[in-house]
């Protein structure tokens, strides 16, 4: 019996140590990006002079499993330290109901401000209204909420993913001189990031009669392996495909492998993604990927915190209710020039 108890204790200890080891790894990495980012952001530098506030902020992020949000969180952490805010984060792992509960739980702690990166444009509106009714200043980022409810928030900081879809589709159209076949591979059905890009891209492709979207499918993950399998099957059906459109870079990197496996030369097929992950930038440099869109989400996180902090600490409202992040397009031909002196944190 004693032996069993000892082994049980050892099992719990081993589990705890595993978690502790992981947490330590995470913290170290997070810390290492902090000072660099603070130094690279002029807004943060100016804010660093007044870290005297006791203002509290609740931050609800719908997932931390996508590079876009990982960078955004790092940016937020850096700006929070600079502005002397007291912030608590919650992550919903892609579950709308959980994010709803996260926001409700945050309201009970009565923070001064709240930043929400919502899962979609409408699911969290009732919870956000509760927060505003409780006197909490609300700012959204990442995905925009529906227009009818935007008046409840201080501001939205982020991209227009429909526009990102348009930009990417237009690049394909221009590269193919308005004639060719395209396959679109999206990530998760129903996810605003995926659906908005699809809407924007379809809009552009539909306006060019010479362009045919021969296949459109979802991997239902952000995994390169799933994208590799799906691309293989699409290339089996359409061996003469002219372009592959991916929602993000992790998927596009799976596509690169499928194209290589098929023995296609990089200039035989256009392949584009979004995010500007380090691996994708290397792939664009090598010519395996033709183009990616840097979303600069680190900077977006910094901006979101600073806009809210300006209001909470100084009463300064943003001049516009929607503060758009600017995507940066990099292609194989101009990546060296664009990325010269540009870090991932300041884009």
């Amino acid at each position: 019996m004693k032996k069993n108890a000892f082994i049980s204790f050892a099992a719990i200890l081993a589990g705890t140590l595993t978690v502790a080891a992981c947490t330590t790894g995470s913290q170290t990495s997070s810390d290492s990006s902090g000072p660099e980012s603070a130094a690279s952001s002029p807004t943060s530098e100016s804010a660093a002079s007044s870290p005297t506030s006791e203002k509290t902020v609740a931050i609800s992020i719908y997932t931390r499993e996508i590079p876009y949000y990982i960078d955004m969180i790092a940016g937020m952490e850096s700006a929070i330290a600079d502005r002397g805010l007291d912030a608590t984060f919650s992550y919903a792992n892609g579950d709308p109901e959980r994010q709803f509960s996260d926001i409700e739980n945050a309201i009970t702690q009565a923070p001064d401000g709240m930043i929400v990166a919502p899962i979609d444009k409408s699911a969290l509106i009732p919870a956000m209204r509760k927060a505003v009714d409780a006197g909490i200043t609300l700012l959204t980022t990442g995905n925009a909420i529906e227009e009818a409810s935007q008046s409840i928030q201080l501001a939205f900081v982020g991209h227009d993913h429909v526009e990102t879809g348009r930009i990417k589709a237009q690049y394909i159209v221009d590269s193919l001189d308005g004639k060719g076949t395209v396959a679109m591979i999206h990530a998760i059905r129903g996810l605003d990031f995926s659906e908005s890009q699809a809407t924007g891209a379809r809009e552009v492709f539909d306006s060019y009669p010479g362009i045919t979207v021969v296949a459109e499918d979802y991997t239902n993950s952000f995994s390169s392996d799933d994208a590799l399998a799906l691309t293989q099957n699409i290339l089996t059906r359409f061996p003469k495909l002219d372009a592959l459109f991916y929602d993000n870079d992790d998927l596009a990197l799976g596509g690169v492998l499928a194209v290589k496996e098929r023995g296609l030369a990089p200039d035989e097929i256009l392949l584009i993604g979004t995010d500007g992950s380090p691996a994708a930038l290397e792939s664009v440099k090598a010519g395996d990927m033709d183009m990616t869109v840097l979303l600069c989400s680190y900077k977006e996180g910094v901006t979101a915190v600073n806009v809210l902090a300006d209001y909470l600490l100084k009463g300064i409202k943003p001049s516009l209710p929607v503060i758009r992040s600017t995507p940066i397009i990099v292609t194989t031909s101009d990546i060296e020039k664009i990325m010269a002196g540009l870090t991932r944190n300041d884009c």
Binding site: N4, I7, S8, A10, A11, I12, A14, G15, T18, V19, A21, C22, T23, G25, S26, S29, R64, E65, I66, P67, Y69, I70, R189, A215, E216, D217, Y218, N220, S221, F222, S223, S224, D225, D226, L228, A229, L230, Q232, N233, I234, T236, R237, D249, D250, L253, G254, L257, R262, S277, P278, A279, E282
Partner: protein, 334 residues
């Protein structure tokens, strides 16, 4: 009464009116028939299906699911469940990629990855057998821990920049087939041997069919269940290494649905989710069914939303053969 480590063992332990292995029963033949009919249909209707390229892809696409499903078959037959395989595979993938990159050695990366998988299996075993936590909850907890570790270690991003060897490893072919396909075939043979011709294999069925009876007959159920979880842990590690080699990167977000798909492959193949009955051969048919179905639907260009509905319907139909078999047996005995 001599026990044999196959479907009939559970039959003898449960004393239920089932057929012996000598004759192929309806439920044993059902999934293979569905797979063959589906493959024939695709051969006839789709010009791309029966091509060397697609068949090679098909085997590659089913490899990771097969590895994980083979391992999980032992856990399910023992009457338990392992939900941590997908997240465990992602963690192994990240660990392999990070260490291989750090030490510039594929060997160290793979060795450490395999160790992590075995460790996860061992912790699962201890949690289920010694702490007596239901395996559903215990392995769900491990799923969350492994997911958190994979994300923390990789900062949520794909781990790239691996040593060149990974690329050559994934492209190695023997008699036209990728190395990984041969390794999966070898793994299948080894596990089949363990299941059919070892005392352990026999006891897994006994433990899953009637745990109390197993204890009375002197079987250490804890030891048997623990070994099943360690086999599953090794399988997730093997799958993690295969994944890293295949996509030449560490994938923290991979395998989110893998555990459920693997359980589906096992159950659809005909192994009872309640334990005590099934076989790794059935799992192979389950894996083939899912892989050919997904590949076929992609090749047919079915709408993505309809595709999901079709997959769900096929899962239910294939798994309902157990019900059909019971009805058949009842009528026969009336």
């Amino acid at each position: 009464m001599k026990l044999r480590a196959n479907d009939t063992v559970a039959t003898q332990l449960e004393s239920s009116p089932r057929r012996t292995l000598g004759s192929i029963s309806f439920d044993q033949a059902f999934v293979p028939i569905v797979v063959i009919v589906m493959a024939l249909y695709l051969c006839i209707t789709n010009p791309f299906f029966f091509t060397v390229t697609n068949l090679t892809n098909l085997l590659l696409q089913g490899s990771i699911l097969a590895i994980v499903a083979f391992g999980i078959t032992f856990v399910i037959i023992s009457g338990e469940l392992d939900l941590s395989v997908g997240a465990g595979m992602a963690l192994v993938s990240v660990v392999v990629a990070l260490t291989a990159r750090h030490f510039e050695s594929i060997g160290i990366g793979i060795l450490l990855g395999l160790s992590i998988g075995l460790l996860i299996g061992l912790i699962n075993a201890l949690v289920v057998t010694l702490l007596e936590v239901p395996s559903f909850i215990g392995t769900l907890g491990m799923l969350v821990i492994a997911q958190g570790c994979a994300l923390a270690l990789s900062q949520g991003a794909v781990v790239s920049g691996l040593p060149e060897g990974f690329s050559s490893l994934s492209n190695t072919r023997i008699f036209g087939l990728h190395l990984i396909v041969w390794l999966v075939a070898l793994y299948f043979m080894v596990l089949l041997f363990i299941q059919k011709y070892t005392v352990f294999g026999l006891r897994v069925f006994a433990v899953g069919a009637n745990r109390r009876a197993s204890v009375v007959t002197g079987i250490s159920t804890r030891r048997i269940i623990s070994i099943c979880f360690v086999i599953s842990g090794f399988s997730m590690a093997f799958a993690g290494v295969a994944l890293t080699t295949r996509v030449e990167s560490g994938q923290p977000n991979a395998g989110s649905l893998l555990a459920l798909t693997a359980v589906a492959a096992v159950v659809v193949g005909g192994t009872s989710i309640l334990g005590g009955r099934g076989s790794i051969v059935r799992t192979l048919w389950g894996v083939l069914l899912i892989t050919i179905l997904e590949n076929g639907l992609d090749l047919e260009g079915i709408d993505p939303d309809v595709k999901r509905i079709v997959i769900g319907v096929v899962f239910i139909l294939a798994a309902s053969t157990d019900f059909a078999r019971r009805q058949f047996d009842r009528r026969k005995h009336k």
